[in-house]
């Protein structure tokens, strides 16, 4: 436990309220007692005067009952001591003195409830002070904790306060807003860094691709020319060479698509048509991998606003990934449906999912876990969808993965424009 360096708020509040309570209690109790005491003394004097004048008219043996009424405020003093005199008609003198202690005793007894209740009131006040201080310091304590958590790199939001002063509530809200902004800022910075990295990569890739593409094209032509008049054995070698060149060409084209996607030609696109096309294009690889491909298009799904060519590419990439995610066979489901932000196209597979630690990187170019992969498929998807003002999201679990692309629907004006 760290020793508090100075007095805590709680101690201060408690001390203040306690001082007030002590002061008030002793003031009222003191006043009540003093006033009561003075009044009782005065009453006793009046009683004494009345008794004295009454006694002056009585014989000594008749005064006894009368004099007893003087108790307990007056005490008879023993002969020879000084005191106030009462004379009876026949000249007998008795002396009395005022018994202040007895008066005070009677007074305290009379006021005992007030005194005890005062004590109880004081205790209640102290306990209230403790809780007041508690309710004030608790939010501050939580705030301090929040700051400490943030410092050690854990994002926290403070729980809403109930029944606290609104200033403290505002403080907590401000903290939460600050955390939100910081978080957004951090996300933004991450995104910016990624974009920068991609741009640099893209320009290098474009340059390399451009340089490679021309030699590749001429190699292809030469190969075709060579094929005529060659022995069957050599023809086989040539065929292999040819397919390798095609593969190289495809990679380079993908790289180019990624690096220079070209300006999209926007127009209304029928989502059903994209799915059909994708199905046709992937039919043979599906058959080879023993995969059943299903297509679900929502009834009268409105058209999208986008570049049909690029969107086909998106669906194709996602579907190919889904196919390669299930080497043992399975199902791939393509869906098109309405979404609150437009139209959604999704590709679902029954593979083993994407490990959480890779999830952040799958959209990065050249990130791949497959030996024959290029790592460009998803980055192209990301770029095209971004160019359309849409979003891609992944939902993955060990039971399967769904990629969902959400794109804007064709609006009424765009329809008219056509």
């Amino acid at each position: 436990m760290r020793r508090p360096r100075s007095w805590s708020t709680e101690t201060r509040i408690k001390a203040l309220l306690m001082a007030a309570a002590i002061g008030l209690t002793s003031l009222t109790v003191g006043t009540a007692l003093t006033q009561g005491f003075l009044e009782r003394v005065q009453e006793a004097r009046i009683l004494f005067d009345n008794t004295r004048s009454a006694a002056e008219n009585l014989r000594a043996d008749r005064t006894e009952v009368l004099l007893q009424t003087l108790a307990p405020s007056w005490r008879e003093v023993s002969p020879g001591q000084s005191g106030e005199e009462i004379k009876s008609a026949d000249g007998m003198v008795r002396r009395f003195s005022l018994d202040r202690t007895a008066i005070l005793t009677a007074l305290v007894y009379h006021q005992r409830y007030v005194l005890v209740v005062g004590l109880i009131g004081f205790l209640v006040a102290v306990e209230l002070a403790v809780f007041l201080a508690y309710s004030l310091t608790r939010p501050m304590k939580i705030l301090a904790w929040g700051c400490e958590q943030m410092r050690s790199g854990r994002w926290v939001r403070l729980p809403p306060l109930s029944r606290s002063p609104y200033e403290l509530e505002a403080l907590h809200e401000a903290f939460n807003e600050m955390v939100d902004n910081l978080q957004q800022w951090q996300d933004f910075q991450k995104e910016a860094a990624r974009v920068e990295r991609l741009a640099a990569l893209g320009s290098v890739a474009a340059a390399v691709a451009h340089e490679v593409k021309n030699p590749l094209a001429s190699m292809r032509i030469r190969l075709d020319l060579l094929r005529r008049g060659i022995s069957p054995q050599d023809a086989e070698h040539l065929a292999v060479l040819g397919s390798e060149v095609d593969r190289l060409n495809q990679t380079v084209s993908q790289l180019l698509t990624y690096a220079r996607p070209g300006t999209p030609l926007f127009g209304p696109v029928d989502p059903g048509e994209i799915l059909t096309w994708t199905e046709q294009m992937t039919a043979s690889s599906c058959r080879a991998a023993n995969i059943r491909l299903l297509r679900e298009v929502e009834a009268d799904c409105p058209s999208l606003w986008g570049d049909a060519q690029q969107l086909k590419q998106v669906l194709l990439n996602l579907t190919l990934n889904a196919v390669s995610a299930q080497p043992g066979g399975g199902r791939v489901i393509l869906r098109a449906f309405r979404h609150r932000n437009g139209i959604a196209l999704s590709v679902t597979d029954e593979g083993t999912g994407i490990p959480a630690e890779l999830l952040e990187r799958i959209f990065d170019p050249f990130f791949t876990t497959r030996p024959e992969g290029t790592g460009l498929g998803l980055s192209i998807v990301h770029r095209i969808v971004g160019g359309h003002g849409g979003t891609v999201s992944v939902d993955t679990s060990p039971e399967g993965t769904t990629f969902t692309v959400i794109l804007p629907a064709t609006s009424a004006e765009q329809d008219k424009e056509r």
């Binding site: 805590s8 202690t101 305290v108 004590l119 306990e127």
Partner: protein, 463 residues
Amino acid sequence: MPVLLLQLCAFGAYTLALVFLAGQAFSWKEDRRLFYVGGNRLRPGPMVGTFVATWMSAASILGYTMWLYTDGYVAFTGSVNGWLIGLVLMPFLVRKLRVGRALSLPQWLGDTFEDPRLRVLSALSLLGAYTFYIVIQFRAFGTIVGALLDIKILLASSLVYLFVLYTTFGGLPSVAKSDVLNLAIITGGVALAALTLLNRAGSFSAVHEALRQTTPAMLHPWNQEWSPLVTLLMMLSWGLGVAANPQYAIRLLSARTARDAYTTLALSALIIGGIYVGLTIIGLASFVLLPGVSAASDELAFTDLVQSVLPPLPALGLFLAVLASAVSTANSQLLLAACSLCYDLSPREGRRRADLVAEDRFLFKNRLAIALIATVALFLSQLRLPGILLIGRYSWTVVAICFFLPLYVIRRPRRKELFFPLAAALLLHLFLTVVLGILPELALLPALALEGLLYFSPWRSLR
């Protein structure tokens, strides 16, 4: 100065001392470990304070003194002796309790036998037992101060109620702090009263001499009505009850080191012994000076007796000692009762590691529970139910049934095997006390025997 004013001033002074010395009630960095067991960092000083002050309850100061006043040394044989046996057993607990990181005795029990049912059962009996214990403290003090100041008992009880609340809200650290003050008042008050009485009666041997001449029966350690066997059984049962009482065990858990725990036990035994000597002097000497005081209840008789045999100042000291002992016993019991309710009986608590916000909420809930239990006890203490005292005695024996065997007898706990014997023992105890009307203290022994028999019996594997 009028005696009444003196008394009121003394209560006022006690209030101020408590408020100032208990200090900051809620510490800035508090969590449940700090709240329940002082973060396992209590030092011998506060430990001795809180151990002894908790030990001396209003009921024990008053009950022992008055029993001694009416029956003589039998009171020592029957009660104090037993309590001291309990104290002697306690060092054996220290190592056993401190191996786990439990925050409460029910948790310790549940963890040791890997049986959550045990935790719930023992927490329930603790909650009940301590609530009634607190009722007794409130009532004893309320009656005394009510008679002293000639005010309504409710008002007097509210005063202790507030003292107890104030010290318990801060958890064990604040209970321990205030208990140091309480212990000082208890020892001071008892010593002053005992010395004054010794002075008036001449000396302790003079007291004995006077007793030998007037009522030699009072010097006899065995009662005439009860056979020695019953007295002995009673004593044994008190002893077991004290030894197994979680309010002491939890303090052994809170000590910083095992060594500190042993030191505390040794020092506490000395001080407790001293206080009992003081009370013995008070009981016997006041009998010699003024025999034959009796009243409707022990509390009233005590008030009368003390006011007649002692001058105002020492009498006030003794009354303050009763107040301090009531507060110090009630606050630690209240804390344990709240712990049972909020921690042991709330299944979701303690599973996850709570962050500060959740911890804060949890402690707030504890404070609410403290206020709730104390209020219920205050309410019960005002009902003139005759059976309440008996329920109090009944419930501490139940606690002893829950804890004695696992704390002292069982060396190698076997998983989940205690629940059935424990439940059977509780049922037997219920049967003996309710159906056959045997005193709860006496019924405790056969119940414990059954529990042990069932747990250790060779045919248990048949179940």
